[in-house]
């Protein structure tokens, strides 16, 4: 088993990893930026190193200082969490070069899956159904030609993309040129890679993803699916649930099977997620995330599996602690992301100092959070304050429990998404289940537009 893990992250996921490590008897090393000095992830780790000032490029992405902290402290592994360096194949390689175990899949798998067009081609070869689309486009002319063949509406996507950035829906030929230019500029700005490809737009799909785990012995299991269709207009997830509701048993099984064969095709190790668009019984592979995801807790509570612990075990060279047939699905879980954002201002991030913090608790409620009253939310990082998970014997019970938990979620000092999430819990369409990814936009249009 590993002895000491450097946690190359901050916020709630740093705490999550810290817990999993400590429960395994593994020491932890935190890194932090100057404005994060008072953060809980710094206080709860066994050691901590400041690695730079606030801006991410100089701290949480500062590979030399992070590696140096790992080596000085005698860590034998690095857990990247999500975001930051989690899907940076080069970082995973450098870790290996310095004798550090990167807690994640192999660098070449990260690289292949991180390039969306490459991943899609790879999955296509593995007979995983993918959205009809192109490879990397040479220029806007190629895009015009391809879009005509795919038939409008189509979707432009950055091959290095993520988090909804570098993505544009194009409904008519006249929109394509402008969309190409702006998507390319956005991708260039965000990922330093402006390459785009084109896909047929699937109308009103659901976003359903399958959690997989693979160990170094070739064992691969899935840990069920998650429905993440309640997304902000930017396609960032806001509310997730497991299992997906209103899904035909055959479709569910197909998703699981596809995910397993996809993971096997790339000899996947560690925790990963295959994201699909689902429209009726049609299933299209979108992308694979080669990291632990924000919404992993809902899979944990319904399947009673500690995914971060499995990641650490796998990285330690241990086999998976369970087989596929050991897994059962116990009820239903919902996660709401409580972000420091103003839903009425198009989810503009809100910086500030938190006052009056009260987070929910009790039977069937799990909270993953790093906040406390007095915490200053720096402007540099993502706006996630807390993940509230409600677990119930049925979906209805989970919804009611979440409603009650959100009523108890009091965070003063910044705008949050708590009230919006609560409105969703009381919405008839959401309660009926099976909403598509445009749900929130339609639901919260008045709130989101600020009127």
């Amino acid at each position: 088993m590993l002895r000491k893990i450097l946690i190359a992250n901050r916020g709630e996921i740093a705490l999550r990893i810290n817990r999993a490590a400590h429960e395994l008897g593994i020491e932890t090393v935190a890194i932090f930026s100057e404005p994060d000095r008072e953060s809980l992830h710094v206080r709860f780790a066994d050691e901590a190193f400041c690695v730079g000032p606030g801006p991410v490029a100089r701290s949480y992405l500062n590979i030399p200082n992070i590696l140096s902290a790992a080596l000085i402290s005698g860590a034998d592994a690095v857990h990247p969490g999500y975001g930051f360096l989690a899907e940076n194949a080069r970082f995973a390689e450098i870790c290996a070069d310095h004798g550090l175990t990167f807690i994640g899949p192999a660098p070449d798998v990260i690289a292949k899956m991180g390039d969306k067009a490459t991943a899609k081609a790879l999955m296509h070869d593995a007979r995983v159904p993918t959205t009809p689309g192109t490879g990397i486009l040479s220029d806007v002319g190629a895009a015009v030609h391809a879009a005509r063949k795919l038939r409008y509406p189509v979707m432009l996507k950055a091959t290095a993309g993520g988090g909804g950035k570098g993505m544009r829906v194009v409904r008519e030929p006249g929109e394509l040129e402008h969309a190409y230019a702006t998507a390319q500029a956005e991708a260039e700005a965000n990922f330093k890679d402006g390459r785009l490809y084109l896909e047929k737009l699937i109308e009103r799909p659901r976003h359903i993803e399958v959690q997989v785990l693979g160990d170094t012995f070739g064992n691969v299991v899935h840990v069920g699916e998650r429905d993440c269709s309640v997304q902000k207009p930017s396609h960032q997830k806001l509310i997730e649930e497991a299992p997906a509701s209103e899904l035909a048993p055959a479709t569910r099984e197909r998703l699981h099977d596809i995910a397993l064969s996809a993971a096997r095709a790339v000899r996947y190790t560690s925790a990963g997620t295959l994201e699909f668009l689902v429209a009726g019984d049609d299933v299209f592979f979108m992308e694979m995330n080669t990291r632990i995801q924000v919404e992993h807790p809902i899979s944990e509570v319904v399947h009673d599996v500690d995914l971060v612990r499995e990641q650490i075990r796998i990285a330690s060279g241990e086999p998976l602690s369970f087989a596929q047939q050991d897994l059962t699905t116990r009820g239903h879980a919902i996660e709401c992301r409580i972000n420091a954002e103003d839903p009425s201002q198009n989810f503009a991030p809100a910086a500030g100092t938190l006052s009056d913090v009260a987070l929910p608790g009790g039977f069937g409620v799990r909270v993953d959070s790093h906040i406390y009253a007095g915490l200053q939310i720096p402007p540099y990082y993502d706006s996630l304050l807390a993940k509230v998970v409600a677990h119930g014997a049925t979906r209805e019970e989970a919804i009611r429990r979440m409603d009650s938990a959100l009523a108890e979620t009091r965070i003063g000092g910044v705008h949050t998404t708590a009230d919006l999430c609560r409105s969703v819990m009381r919405d008839e369409r959401f309660i009926r289940g099976g909403v598509s990814i445009d749900f929130l936009e339609a639901f919260a249009a008045p709130a989101i537009s600020g009127s």
Partner: protein
């Protein structure tokens, strides 16, 4: 604490405040907090304007610090192991602005640490071979 004692302390704080030209002075100690703030000149009572002689100043570190020139703090930019220059600069040493005081070894690379300005080293905060983090104070220099 005795209220008489509190007022006595506050009186001395007020005198100190007036004589040092401070606008505000706060002391917190063992659960007792005293804060005095001088009224703008136009509002002052005559008695306060006469002030106390400078010799009556209670000498605290804060006052001496504020009389002195601000120190220049040399900090680590890299996470690594600090190696002091040889011969090591010690407290009291006069150093030039480009003098290499130490280097921080990080991933096998030597990152030199230089005095930011010529002056006198008033504190060496690290010892040779110590691990340092970003922003950690290594030396304090009183500029000439």
């Amino acid at each position: 604490m005795d209220w008489e004692l509190i007022l006595e302390r506050a009186r001395r704080a007020a005198e100190f405040c007036a004589s040092s030209g401070l606008a505000r002075f706060r002391v917190e100690e063992d659960g007792l907090e005293i804060e005095v703030r001088r009224a703008p000149r136009s509002e002052r009572a005559p008695s306060a304007q006469t002030g106390a002689p400078a010799s009556a100043l209670p000498s605290t570190n804060g006052i001496r610090a504020s009389e002195a020139r601000p120190l220049s703090i040399v900090r680590a930019e890299f996470v690594g192991i600090v190696r002091l220059a040889r011969p090591a600069v010690s407290e009291g040493a006069e150093v030039g602005g480009d003098r290499e005081l130490a280097y921080v070894e990080s991933l096998g690379i030597r990152n030199p640490i230089r005095a930011s300005a010529p002056g006198r080293v008033v504190a060496v905060h690290v010892s040779d071979g110590e691990a340092v983090e970003f922003g950690q104070a290594l030396f304090a220099i009183e500029p000439q």
